[in-house]
């Protein structure tokens, strides 16, 4: 058993005849922040969604904290493993996906109560603690549609944290936000990284990747083509696809 929190071995995913992931091998160590970059359609979101089985992988193996789940499993035993994997991972979506019929506090309390069977008082305590962590405690009784996109995303982060996952998965968490709201979400994520949260982040925010990531991984057409510390990847890219990708960010930043 490796010490890795996430270990992907030869992970493949096909949608019909389209092969989106072509054999991914990846390890994420405890307390590590890994940023995944790549152009849209490269398979980076699909890879993230395979880790908690929102997409069922076609081939390969996913290991989360020693829990090995082979692809293509069926039946009750497999479902149990998948459920367990979901409890170990927290996910933050591009579109926030807060529950609109619940207050912000209830959004964060829901899963601990329903899924873990935490009693209400304890769940409230956990929820308030995590809302405070993302700076959203002051809006706890509001409904999601009464707060800004950036605030929604911070609540979504708190909601995932309340389940006390071993690793946080971020799927382009700032891509649906107005430019002026991106900063507050990135700040929260930076805070989490500083606290030692293990994070796997799909992002287009190169500034964030440079400041926070321990490692950047470049994915292109379903394959990992390059990885390394931010300075190496961002300043001295080896692969020509990486250079092309970064070139586009540089031009769009100017």
């Amino acid at each position: 058993m490796s010490t890795a929190i996430i270990k992907l071995t030869n992970l493949r995913k096909c949608f019909g005849r389209l092969e989106v992931l072509k054999g991914i091998n990846l390890e994420v160590q405890p307390r590590e922040v890994v940023c995944l970059i790549g152009r849209s359609g490269s398979g980076k979101s699909t890879m993230l969604r395979c880790i908690n089985f929102l997409e069922e992988p076609s081939e390969g193996e996913i290991e989360i904290h020693g829990l090995k789940i082979p692809a293509g499993g069926k039946g009750r035993e497999h479902q149990k493993l998948v459920h367990h994997a979901r409890l170990l991972t927290g996910m933050v979506f591009q579109e926030f996906n807060l529950f609109p019929h619940m207050s912000i506090l209830e959004n964060v309390m829901e899963a601990p109560i329903i899924v873990k069977g935490t009693d209400r008082a304890k769940a409230k305590e956990i929820a308030e603690m995590n809302l405070a962590r993302v700076g959203m405690l002051f809006k706890k009784d509001e409904y999601p549609n009464r707060v800004s996109g950036g605030q929604k995303q911070r609540v979504a982060i708190a909601r995932a944290l309340a389940m006390e996952p071993l690793v946080m998965l971020f799927d382009e968490p700032t891509s649906a936000l107005d430019p002026e709201l991106i900063g507050e979400v990135l700040d929260v994520m930076k805070g989490l990284a500083k606290e030692g949260t293990t994070m796997l982040v799909v992002t287009h925010e190169m500034g964030f990747a440079r400041d926070v990531a321990d490692r950047i991984i470049v994915i292109n057409e379903g394959e990992l083509i390059e990885e390394g510390i931010p300075g190496k990847i961002l300043d001295h890219p080896q692969h020509k696809q990486t250079r092309a990708l970064l070139e586009r960010y540089h031009t769009s930043e100017k």
């Binding site: 929102l54 979506f93 996906n97 807060l98 409904y143």
Partner: protein, 281 residues
């Protein structure tokens, strides 16, 4: 903004403000006239039907018959509401089942759901009532001993369930895929996702049309009178009307009762809708 030359500043209003005020004034005037017209209409109706109370003899309704039978026919309201409530419960149950069938990827369940909806929507409600009342005992003999009311409830519930299933299906589909994914990612089971996340949101979407269906159903329940064994408003009105050759009076009274019931239910419905609108979506 300066539009009208050298007027003093406090008299100046923007063109948009003026247009808006005009619009508000016109709208208020229109609403006022509608209310007045309604009052005149009702007054005319009253005069038309008031018989000899004002010495007009317009339709010369038999006021004695009305007095004698008002209570008798009105008592049917209880049965009408009772049938409607039972039927709507059955309809909701069937609609939910049919909607889940329509959303299912399991072919037999999907087929069963579409078969049911198609059959119920493809045949008249009147026929269905008679089917359950007259024809069903031929298949299930003990059904003959079941009160006619249940044939009505079965027909109304199954029929409305078929129509409502489409509303339910739309309501469930209106809850975005992201909602389910977020709930699943948090570790919820399919059942929990349905109960805690999808259904509460779908219900809000479905309640207004369900209210409409319920109101429509209270009136369609009049058809159950045709069985001759369910003593609701329509049965009572036609019975008394025919027996005394006072069909005009009897039907006017029945119409009055249905109309009042509809008015009350509509008021209740708009209350509920207002409250739903207040809760944040």
């Amino acid at each position: 903004m300066k539009l009208f030359g050298n007027k003093p500043a406090d008299e100046q209003k923007s063109q948009a403000d003026l247009l808006y005020e005009l619009h508000v004034r016109q709208e208020r005037q229109f609403q006022g006239n509608v209310v007045i017209s309604w009052i005149i209409l009702l007054l005319m109706l009253y005069l038309l039907f008031s018989g000899d109370t004002l010495g007009l003899h317009a339709l010369s309704l038999d006021s004695q018959f009305i007095k004698d039978n008002f209570g008798f026919i009105g008592k049917g309201l209880g049965v009408t509401i009772y049938i409607s409530l039972l039927s709507i419960v059955l309809a909701i149950f069937m609609a939910l089942f049919a909607a889940l069938g329509r959303l299912s990827r399991f072919p037999p369940f999907y087929a069963l759901s579409t078969f049911y909806v198609s059959l119920m929507r493809g045949t008249p409600l009147y026929l269905q009532i008679f089917f359950f009342f007259l024809a069903l005992p031929q298949i299930i003999p003990w059904w003959a001993n079941v009160p006619g009311l249940w044939a009505g409830v079965l027909a109304l519930g199954l029929n409305y369930g078929a129509y409502m299933s489409e509303t339910f299906r739309a309501a469930i589909s209106s809850v975005g895929k992201g909602q389910r994914e977020a709930a699943i990612a948090l570790g919820m089971t399919q059942g929990q996702v349905m109960r805690r996340v999808v259904m509460p949101q779908a219900l809000r979407f479905a309640i207004p049309p369900m209210g409409n269906d319920f109101i429509a159903m209270t009136k369609d329940s009049a058809m159950v009178a045709a069985t001759g064994f369910v003593h609701e408003v329509m049965w009572r009105a036609t019975r008394q009307g025919r027996a005394n050759l006072r069909n005009l009076e009897a039907l006017i009274m029945a119409a009055f009762f249905y109309w009042m019931m509809t008015l009350i239910l509509t008021a209740v419905q708009s209350r509920i809708e207002a409250r739903l609108a207040k809760g944040d979506r």
